[in-house]
Symmetry: C2
């Protein structure tokens, strides 16, 4: 009997001795980090409201209870019974019965009403039909990404169960090593912005955190091929953790599967969907620009299939000696600070990913309360000594000023933006400003996946700021459904119409003007001195956005949409930069994040910033808070224990 | 045609165009780092005295010329002719003809006379017989190690040629990577003394430097199994470089071959032989102490077979982007500071190995002149703020005092010492002291390989201090041949005789009292209050030697030679420590080594010292010379470019 089988047999014995005699336990298995208990008496299990919680705390595992399939009522009958239990107002849009696991997936517009107070409705469903209910939200705005992901996962259920079982056995394998150490190897985003990637390793476990591209230097990948990363084979990695979906963190995650990785990706559910959206677009852009994409869309599907979603605050075993907890990072939808608890109290490391410390319209500010963190790996995008941003309130005033002035000149406002994050923040600003009469009513065109990204936001309101979440739950208050928002889905023709029409606001990707429809908008509006190009986000070194900010006005148009190839464009429109909308904490925010941590970490690695930013931040944190701080280079390894 | 074959074809063309028309070039191959030119006209080649040097400088390669085998005179004739050319006084002891390569190995007591002025005699041999002469010294004291190694290499010639050809093709392969970086990974000897081991890596090349054991903690190996070391497979290592033969640097070199390593070991010839001696003893000791040896003696032979000896000062290509030069380290016979020139002027790193900066009786002080060194990895054994040693002259006085006092009490002096290095230094001190009447004439017993180690010293006088070398060349002045030196080769019986006999001096391994015959000597003399145990070398933490220095007088004798197992011994003999004989530079010596470097390195990694020693030295070098200094932990990686 293998070590894991022995463990499961022991666990089953414990469970049998803990549950009332009338509940029969037929099987106990691992599915990813969860312990799954099969029972012939799912109803009695459900009646003992506290039983699962007691078992979870006793076994120190996350627990799922499933009915043995032969005690289930047939789907046809069950369907009616489920409908009868759930209140009409929940607006169920889909019921999907999985006979292999005894689960019924309920898609509803109001998931809360399916769940009931403290899960009472769910328990009632199990009591009635035996099936285990799982609830997902019907996207308030139709999202092809969300429905594609859900359909794909439905179709791949068998494969996915195999993966989860394998991963579960890996996680719960016996510890092998007597050694004790904790190390971080930097594979990218050190003294640079882009290609975020790290290895966290112990004698037992190797975790890869992020694998992004570098905007403006598309051929500079993280150093995945060195021995300490994938050099010993992709299967030597136990787990991949993705902090958020921005391409500078996620672009090369699917590549891992091409390299033979076959393990789990831990991330939040919205990050999974956004990663799908953004990496598929990444492949598109590469193809359009004539670069060979490093992987194909099949690998994106592999990544989605291998994702084990985890929720903020859940403590998850990801290997015999590491527990992962993700916390809101305030940066984009689903973005997470990833906290690793290593050994039994041996060491704690947190990777900030990208963070925003203060609340924004979209998100609550980043969490910085952890029971313990000895080492913090901290983004430093705005860590430079002068990187203090304007307050967002002032920035909003300035943006509205620019919009009013441009409107009065009969010009349009063109805003390059990431599809995900700042676009939705700006939508909220613009919606409010028009509603309150601060700026004239005019169309706001969303080009290049922003619409789709917005739809994903509305699918996961739990990840948005509290008051915004509540508004989204009411269709008539959902700001993203406001009339002035228009999805550019008619391509060049529609863009030409917009150009020829009345003054408008255009939000378009890419956010750093490195390709995408913004190139086309620049051609349309670039020579119009009445219009204004307005930067609202960080422009990395080497990107066209940064160059235009620095005064370039002759723009090579060789990676546009086929027209103007090899030509240059004289930029005659106004160029403005409004900071303060960043999804990143500014210098003050970064310091506040660290300052208010309790206890403060002993060590901080400053990463994800230009050379001077990481140096400035590292030196400031050292001098002000007397922590040991570092500004690592790529390809270095730090040992902590 | 492979890339290397193409390169060789091009090289052959160049050579043909450079040599006079009457010299035919039949083949050009690589043997390890050397380019071997085969010619049907070895005599004409030899006549053109300057030709080889010109080709070497044009091709930037080390060059060996070999005769095509069908132009050689038959060995029987050649033997007489060779004898007729070499002067009688050279005392040739062996002539060995290798028909596969056209080499004749000449073993002589006076190799210099076989070589002649600027190699004139060698050239004369080639002109007469066509064979290429190679000269080795007949050991003045018979050494079974040296003769075993030589016989073994003779017997393995075919294998060895295959290895050299393979290595040669590896070294001269085309560079594959566009990346540029230089990294050092620490696998051992950081914040500790023992288990020296490093990886030096570039995108092209991975070099392992040293792989030693840890005295007093025999199960603590260097971290060879991590991905950045052998984790990707032992064959991912391009080259192994061994700084010197002490076990804390060499013990696990043979283990690499058990792990599948099949590449070259670069080191000096004496280090090769001493490594053979010491690692075989390491296996013996492990067996005697009931530990499972990590490899068997076959692996020691593999290590010897894969060694490519290099001489101090020779610049050797060891990979497409790295050149190695070894320099005298002044520490033990053959010890070398290993200097790596990376890329074409990209970066230079020197690993000090263990060094002694001042001249000693045995060795010239460590070389610290290098064209460039940006990073120095520096031993710090005596780097602590108080680690200033007595001058050796004063130490010698003190030692002689102890000997005289002990002698007057009718006691004996027991000195634990490494077989290699300090023992020979002490022999020189004692020989002179007795010759000059400073201490009474009495037997000096050498136990545990010291005799053999001494024989190896006399085989390689070129590696000794100039004036000592000259004395060794004259039998009547060779201090190691003095009458009072006695080789303990009669085991326990002889030890008992010594104990029962007149006062004597005993030098015995192991140097840190971690096993070996010193344990037996302690049993013999331990309870004799008239005798004196005298430490003259560094005692690492965790060793019995260090404990005795700290005042322990109840000594567990459970790893002795079978007797007294499990007993404790009450130590009643005097215990003295005389520093100043160390093979290591003291704090002043380390500082002087760095201070007088020109130019000084930008960065220094302080290693091979207790935690406080490396911290002290690192901080002192930073404050005094304003260099960036580090006290790495094991398992860290530093990037330099
Ligand atoms: Zn981001
Ligand atoms: Zn980022
Ligand atoms: Zn970012
Ligand atoms: Zn040494
Ligand atoms: Zn050493």
């Amino acid at each position: 009997m293998s070590n894991v089988d022995q463990q499961l047999a022991d666990t089953k014995e414990t469970i049998v001795s803990e549950v009332p005699n009338d509940i029969s336990i037929t099987d106990v298995t691992y599915e990813g980090p969860e312990l799954v208990i099969y029972t012939r008496d799912p109803k009695s299990f459900a009646e003992n409201g506290d039983l699962v919680r007691r078992l979870a705390s006793k076994l120190r595992k996350r627990i799922t209870v499933r009915p043995d399939t032969d005690v289930l009522s047939p789907p046809r009958e069950a369907r009616d019974e489920v409908h009868s239990v759930i209140p009409e107002e929940a607006s169920v849009t889909d019921l999907d019965f999985h006979e292999d696991t005894g689960e019924v997936v309920i898609e509803a517009e109001k998931p809360g009403m399916v769940i009931g107070r403290h899960g009472s409705t769910l328990r009632e469903i199990t009591q009635k039909v035996g099936w285990t209910p799982e609830v997902v939200r019907t996207p308030p705005i139709e999202s092809s990404t969300v429905s594609n992901v859900r359909n794909f996962l439905k179709q791949e259920r068998d494969d996915r169960r195999d993966i989860l079982e394998r991963v579960g056995r890996q996680i719960h394998r016996e510890e092998m090593s007597d050694d004790e150490w904790v190390r971080i190897t930097t594979l990218g985003c050190c003294r640079e912005v882009g290609r975020a990637s790290f290895i966290l390793s112990t004698p037992e476990t190797r975790v890869l955190i992020d694998a992004g591209d570098k905007p403006g230097a598309e051929d500079e990948y993280p150093y995945l091929q060195v021995p300490e990363a994938l050099g010993v084979g992709a299967s030597s990695i136990d787990a991949v953790v993705l902090t958020h979906a921005h391409l500078d963190h996620s672009a090369l995650i699917p590549l891992l599967f091409k390299y033979g990785y076959d393990g789990p990706i831990y991330t939040t559910e919205p990050t999974r969907d956004l990663m799908g959206l953004l990496t598929l677009d990444y492949l598109d852009v590469a193809a359009k620009e004539g670069r060979a994409p490093p992987y194909d869309s099949e690998m994106v599907r592999e990544a989605i299939k291998h994702t084990i979603p985890i929720e903020y605050g859940d403590v998850t075993d990801i290997s015999p000696d590491i527990k992962l907890t993700m916390h809101n990072a305030g940066h984009i939808l689903g973005s997470a600070i990833s906290h690793f608890h290593i050994g039994d109290g041996l060491y704690n490391v947190a990777f900030s990913g990208d963070i925003h410390y203060d609340d924004t319209r979209l998100f609550n500010g980043a969490v910085n309360e952890f029971p313990r963190v000895e080492t913090l790996v901290l983004e430093s995008t705005y860590g430079g000594r002068n990187d203090y941003q304007t307050d967002q309130a002032d920035s909003e005033q300035r943006l509205k000023e620019i919009i009013r002035e441009t409107y009065e000149r009969d010009g349009s406002v063109l805003i390059p933006a990431f599809a995900v994050g700042r676009s939705q923040e700006l939508m909220l600003v613009l919606e409010e400003a028009m509603r309150e009469g601060d700026i004239p009513e005019m169309p706001v065109h969303l080009d290049g996946m922003m619409w789709e990204a917005t739809a994903i936001h509305t699918t996961y309101p739990e990840y948005l700021r509290d008051d915004l979440r509540d508004r989204i739950f009411h269709d008539d208050e959902n700001p993203f459904l406001a009339d002035q928002f228009n999805h550019i889905d008619g391509g060049e023709e529609e863009r030409q119409e917009v150009t020829d029409g009345e003054p408008a606001i255009v939000l378009s990707t890419s956010g750093m003007v490195t390709g995408g429809p913004i190139m086309s908008w620049l051609e349309h509006f670039g020579s119009d001195p009445d219009s204004t190009l307005t930067f609202v986000g960080y422009q990395a070194q080497g990107t066209l956005g940064r160059r235009i900010q620095n005064g370039w006005d002759e723009i090579p148009m060789n990676n546009g949409n086929g027209r103007g190839r090899g030509n240059t464009l004289s930029l005659e429109m106004n160029v403005e930069t409004v900071d303060g909308f960043s999804g990143h904490a500014d210098r003050q925010g970064l310091e506040n994040f660290v300052k208010t941590m309790n206890p403060r970490p002993e060590k901080v690695l400053c990463v994800h910033g230009d050379e001077s930013s990481v140096q400035d931040l590292s030196s400031a944190l050292y001098h002000e808070y007397n922590m040991r701080t570092f500004a690592p280079k790529n390809l270095e390894t730090f040992r902590f224990v």
